[in-house]
Symmetry: C2
Subunit: 197 residues, 2 copies
């Protein structure tokens, strides 16, 4: 199953965080740009996405800043790998970053804009859109719940190094539950006759 985590609320505001996402990922395990791109397709990528193009660009910048180093690993039949490793300067930067408060990001939701367009637009299409979104959030929630059950069967007995990832997963589950609840509220107001599903 190839799911990408999403949410009814878009925000942005805190830019420049890709560097730090990569630092975290490399702190967990050294990797090539290609590896990172795949990790950003899953795990970390549920809450932070990046294309391989962007990752290569940022890795170059980080290397020039001295946060990472790479070792070229020749391969046969395929292009050489560049395996990136955190430097101590990179580890320092991670420490400094976690010591500063993260600004609470701006909420941004295109869907919310669309809801406000209700009196001026195609109401039936909007209701249909809500139903579609509801299904997507349902799937995602199921996927997160499954991951949680598989990787963290006993949340009260987590190893300290698993705590962060668990809490992130919990955040994703809470967000999806909320998104679902919101869809239900909307449907109840806009299409009350069909209280199905």
């Amino acid at each position: 199953m190839h799911l990408v985590a999403q949410h009814p609320f878009a925000y942005y505001g805190a830019l420049m965080a890709l560097e730090h996402a990569i630092l975290v990922s490399l702190a967990e395990k050294s990797a090539t740009g290609y590896d990172l791109a795949r990790r950003f397709d899953a795990s970390i990528g549920y809450f932070w996405q990046a294309s391989h193009q962007q990752i290569y660009k940022v890795l170059g910048r980080m290397e020039r800043a001295g946060w990472v180093e790479f070792e070229t690993v020749p391969q046969d039949g395929r292009p050489d790998k560049k395996v990136y490793v955190l430097t101590s300067a990179g580890r320092d930067e991670l420490g400094a970053w976690t010591s500063k408060a993260t600004p609470v990001e701006y909420l941004r939701s295109e869907f919310a804009v669309k809801l406000r367009a209700l009196p001026f637009g195609n109401a039936t299409a909007i209701v249909e859109d809500v139903r579609t979104r509801r299904r997507v959030h349902e799937e995602r929630l199921a996927y997160y719940a499954e991951s949680a059950a598989r990787f963290y069967p006993d949340p009260d007995a987590l190893r300290p190094d698993q705590m962060g990832a668990w809490l992130v997963l919990r955040g994703g589950m809470l967000a999806e539950e909320t998104a679902l609840a919101w869809c239900d509220e909307i449907l109840q107001r806009l299409a009350p006759e069909e209280t199905d599903r």
Copy 2:
């Protein structure tokens, strides 16, 4: 109180939506770029922000596309106003946009990245950050609840044209409640001794 709505989850992905946010805003009421910027500081701005610079840029683009027109209103002692009005092409575009599904946006949370950095960073600072964020979400929730009580005292007797705005406000409240709940879960795991507040 000058609050800007925010959320622990940043997303983005669906770009180019500022045009549609402006279309909705102008459909509600004709306005100058300056007016729009102020509206984006409040109401719609709780869920969609834009600077005046960006708004002027986009208004120019929309005017060239024929979605809006403006009338220059001279004033004394201040610069002339350009009052923008939706054209029928603009109204068509709004209709077309609401007829298409909005892609479910990507979740993006810098704070989630920071949680994953727990084993490699300053854990006490991260806990302090969570407490700060908790307070922010608490304030916002209170602010939304107050707005809801003032503008929509009886949610079961809404006029049809108020429905969209009400549902958006509800989304904001749900999001803030969830953000709060997440902060509490995090604090319970990372600083269980102080189950204060």
